[in-house]
Amino acid sequence: MRKLLRTTTALLIIFTLLLCGCASGGKAADTSSSGEVYGFEPVTEIKQGQKNIYVILKVMTSQYWQDIVKGIAEAGKELDCNVYVGGPAGEGDWEGQEKLIDEAVNEHKADAFVIAPANSSMLIDKISGIYKSGTPVVLVDTIINSEDFDTCFMTDNLQAGEYAAKEMLRHLTESGLSKEEPASIAMQIGSTSSQTIIDRIAGFNQYWAVNAPGNWKVLDEVKINDGDKQKAKQNCIDFLEAYPDIKGFFGCNNSSTVGFVNGIKEKNRNDLVLVGFDYADETAELVASDEYRAATMVQNQYDMGYKGLKEAVDAANGIRSEYKFVDTGIVVINRDNYKQYEAEVKNR
């Protein structure tokens, strides 16, 4: 009888476990990198008794960030303050930025900060801490998911995308494309993880949905090039082969735009319209060409640096802005105005 009891209990337990089963879930590991940082270097003449402004950028090496530094240095010189610039060696290294913030707070007693946050969420506590302690914090290029900062100077990329769509429509219309004629617009991006690029896509499509003729469609397929210009060119060629009615290309970042430029030139498709971003040499050449229809959107990164630093100095002097977000705008460069733009850049 005891044996029977034991067997019965065991059977029931096994049966219950079999029926119940079990479920498990995984959680993706949170990875972050923390690498080398470029320590603070002065970009203005350092004088005793002046305000000390510390600037922490996302990365120090690209032309884009050097343009921002130019704006910062110019404003620092005009306002006669001490400006120090530092940043991590690798883009996205928010922990490196945290180290620099701590150094500026603890060792240098910064009067104000200008920061280009490498991560909109992970740096909230650090930036909020400085802001609440009374030290002004001005953001450039990227905003954080909090309101604990003075002002953010950045491009409204949603609006930049709308400008791009508007420019595309203008060129297509001027090219003589009939509103009744079916046409496709193809988009290419560098990465799906960049909110800047996603905003441009959203802005473009929002404007297009409201303003474009019904027969002019944006293709559902979006190609990704991971920043590889060769891949971007191949994407362009693949688009042309797969969709014979393509009339326009929208390149949402530098690599995508250069890829479209090279693909269009290789296939000699001067019947197409290209609207892209940034002013790479290849892009500039196509924009200037009489043979092709092309335009590109350029950010005012110099203004970000210049205005950002002026705002930081004002705040350090007790003049706080009522604006939290300032759009530094986009310049649409096409064959009509490229010479003027190049002259302005040269004169900086």
Binding site: M1, L4, L5, T8, T9, L11, L12, I13, F15, T16, L19, C20, A23, G26, S120, S121, I143, N145, E147, F149, T151, C152, D156, L158, Q159, M187, I189, T192, Q195, I198, D199, I201, A202, G203, N205, Q206, W208, A209, V210, V218, D220, E221, V222, E322, Y323, K324, F325, V326, D327
Partner: protein, 488 residues
């Protein structure tokens, strides 16, 4: 008539367990199938209700603006600058962040940041010819740096439109409207435009902050429709106004269900509410698990009860059987059981071995009762039974036939000499018998024995022979034993 086939209790329990397991498995499988079928329906119903809830709450957001606009419009001598001042004082108690006015010349009564936004976002131009409520697309505010929406209502004076009133809300307000205790922060709310494919987070979904824009084209490759739904058809149904407002799909390693509902006043935009499918199924599986464990526990308890009852009954039957076969005083076999038992033993043993039957009487037992009392007599009977049982051990079986009479059936081919020795020892033991109170009460006995097959191979005759031998002992003065073969 056929007799029903009988099963042992063990078999019945196994049959019962098997039956329960089969029933439980069937119920569980059916329940799972039912849950899977109804999960989608239930989830969809919940979603539809939530979507309606958000839409109703959205309507309340609009109502604040509409009512304020109606109050201002009712004033025949309306001065917008004064009204703006009054509205500012009331803002603290309202759900919107700020409120302002735009007159028919495009002048904005608001903060500098709001003036900038109204111009930049094109709101002044858009609302100038609007006679109805207008809700803006989400935009990043110059004043807060966060993503906001603006709700506009037309202002009238004597039937003529004189401008618009606007209220600005944080985008998270919409998410807060969708909050429920059941799914709390697992609910994601989006605004979606099916014409552009754009959608805007109103919550912290997918590691994005409220106000984050995206486009369906960028995630379409990762979306896999589930349960017979089609994602493209779902978006198409938003545009056409027909079809199902629900879709089930997987995105990454998670499964979701989402529903849309139209927003009054926000042209071409829809509220989309999404919940993970697993959240509901996890909840349902917890209930299923509870049911299974409960049912298994019930079966186990039933079986334990059955076993307990069966054991009790078994013990009772054993007791009854024991009572019917044994002498209640001495605990050795009674006459009926003894007769039944030795008939089988005799048939079995007479083929291969010899056996002996013994009649055994306690001498003058009546005088024990008379002189020492019945209690003492009972003690003598018990002691004699015990002594007999122990004397023959595995070689014999003893029984009380009645009064002071005992029978012993001896087997295993014991010889006459063996039995003589045993009886001599028994006589010595009973001669020194002591009662429980320590009183010495010597007992003697008389016994008659007959052997098979030497005397007979018939049990009945064997008994008679032994009885005759006992009679001879009694005739010759008792306190002795005599073999049947010795009296002839």
């Amino acid at each position: 008539m056929n007799r029903a086939r009988k099963h042992t209790p063990s078999q019945l329990i196994i049959i019962y367990i098997t039956f329960c397991v089969v029933v439980l498995m069937t119920v569980t499988l059916s329940l799972n199938r039912f849950l899977q079928r109804s999960m989608s329906t239930q989830t969809n119903n919940i979603l539809s209700l939530m979507a309606e809830k958000v839409n109703t709450s959205f309507g309340m957001m609009v109502n604040y603006v509409t009512e304020a606009a109606e109050i201002i419009s009712a004033d025949k001598h309306c001065n917008l600058a004064d009204r703006y001042e009054q509205l500012q004082r009331a803002t603290a108690s309202m759900p919107y962040t700020s409120v302002g006015l735009i007159d028919d010349n495009g002048t904005v009564y608001g903060s500098d940041g709001e003036k900038l936004d109204m111009e930049k976002q094109g709101f002044i131009k858009t609302v100038s010819d609007k006679d109805t409520i207008y809700i803006s697309e989400p935009y990043r505010s110059s004043v807060t740096g966060s993503n906001m929406i603006a709700v506009f209502a037309p202002l009238y004076n004597n039937g003529q439109k004189i401008g618009s009133l606007y209220a600005i809300y944080y985008l998270e307000t919409i998410q807060n409207l969708a909050y429920t205790n059941i799914l709390s922060d697992r609910t994601a709310v989006f605004l979606m435009n099916p014409y552009s494919g754009n959608y805007v987070n109103c919550s912290e979904a997918d590691n994005n902050s409220p106000g984050t824009w995206s486009n369906v084209r960028l995630i379409k490759n990762e979306i896999k429709a589930l349960n017979g739904y089609n994602y493209d058809d779902w978006i198409k149904s938003m545009r056409t106004g027909g079809g199902n407002n629900l879709v089930n799909f997987s995105f990454g390693d998670k499964s979701y269900t989402q529903a849309y509902t139209e927003i009054t006043g926000m042209h071409n935009w829809y509220i989309v509410i999404r919940i993970p499918l697993a959240e509901l199924s996890d909840t349902m599986h917890k209930y299923t698990l509870g049911v299974i464990i409960g049912a298994a526990a019930l079966i186990l308890a039933t079986i334990l009860l059955a076993i307990y009852l069966y054991s009790g009954e078994h013990r009772q039957k054993e007791t009854l059987r024991d009572l019917s076969n044994h002498d209640p005083l001495t605990k050795i076999l009674n006459r009926r059981a003894f007769d039944s038992c030795i008939t089988k033993l005799f048939d079995k043993s007479k083929k291969n071995e010899s056996c002996i039957f013994m009649f055994f009487d306690i001498d003058y037992f009546k005088s024990v009762n008379d002189n020492y009392g019945h209690d003492a007599g009972d003690q003598v009977l018990c002691a004699t039974a015990e002594a007999l049982t122990e004397a023959f051990g595995d070689n014999g079986i003893a029984a009380r036939i009645g009064g002071d009479e005992f029978n012993v059936f001896i087997y295993n081919s014991l010889t006459v000499a063996n039995v003589d020795d045993i009886l001599a020892n028994l006589r010595m033991r009973l001669k020194n018998l002591k009662l429980e109170d320590g009183t010495l009460l010597p007992v003697s006995f008389s016994a008659g024995l007959s052997m098979c097959p030497q005397d007979t191979d018939d049990l009945k005759i064997l008994k008679e022979n032994a009885d005759k031998a006992l009679y001879r002992v009694k005739e010759t003065g008792r306190n002795n034993h005599i073999w049947y073969h010795d009296i002839n």
